[in-house]
Symmetry: C2
Subunit: 151 residues, 2 copies
DNA sequence: TTGATTGCAAAGAATTTGCACTGGG
DNA sequence: CCCAGTGCAAATTCTTTGCAATCAA
């Protein structure tokens, strides 16, 4: 009776094997926390799980609807998903190695509300992605991992 | 000898008919300033221009590389392009009618630099999109236009 | 049992690419 | 004239869907 089991029930989703495995995969991956559907699919294969890619997409969409995960559109076409731990934050993505850092800045949040207010909008959501190069990226573990993945 | 002609040359691009027409289309459309490849393609067709969709994509990508336009990824899959008028700004998008407002906030820009600095990144770029509902969207011209487009 | 959930393969949407043809300089 | 640029159709990439088989409650 894994923890994922209970979380799924609480979210109103039947605790099926694919859903449990996918949720555990997201919980297990503390770094990087941000995985694409493809990442998850491949990781499951490696773990010996036989779950179709279509199912991964379906389940992630259900999780997103249920508020269990948050979907992001970083540069480069595909979506990435991260476990929703409750607190909102924005992202800083390294263009060289793909490393993702999270941050939260009260001032930025406030100013965004102020802008929406000023322009006559009711703010519903926002996405802020900062792109850059992490200093000394060549020695960064993410960069090494990326190189290895390309080989 | 249109203005677009000179701008293309200045950008190091041969002044061909498709490029001129696409650039003029972007310059003409002051509102909305943000057009998808499909939008541009359709508008050109209506104007009686016989330019392929693939060419529109190719040309827009060239324009982006040349710095003539900026590409954005708003929610909903497809990219939109806007003429690069020099000054950076962020966007507020209405989820109901698609209206896009631009804004610039010095404080937000500063805080972003501070965040990048703090996390050890060299800032290269950023994208900030605020999503909301424009007040009284039902009477908003964009909303009416959207309804008409659906009919 | 029985409706919800999956897997697979096929469909879609957005964008890119290969290649023979055309047009700008 | 000659190569960059274009149109078209085919290919890619990421994601969604239809449907018969399977599973959780």
């Amino acid at each position: 009776m894994t923890a994922a089991n209970g979380e799924l029930k609480k979210a109103g989703l039947k605790a099926t094997l694919p859903r449990i495995k996918i949720l555990e995969m997201l919980e297990k991956h503390s770094t990087p926390r941000h995985l694409s559907a493809e990442d998850i699919y491949k990781n499951l294969l490696v773990s010996g799980e036989d779950i179709g890619l279509a199912t991964v997409y379906r389940v992630l969409t259900q999780f997103e609807t249920a508020g269990l995960v948050v979907r992001h559109h970083f540069e480069g076409g595909h979506s990435v998903f991260e476990l929703n731990e409750g607190e909102h934050h924005d992202h800083l993505v390294c263009l060289k190695c793909g490393k993702v850092e999270e941050f939260y800045d009260t001032t930025i949040e406030e100013r965004q509300h102020a802008m929406a207010e000023k322009l006559g909008f009711e703010l519903m959501d926002h996405s802020l992605y900062i792109y850059g190069n992490c200093k000394n990226f060549k020695n960064c573990e993410h960069f090494k991992k990326k190189l290895k993945a390309m080989a």
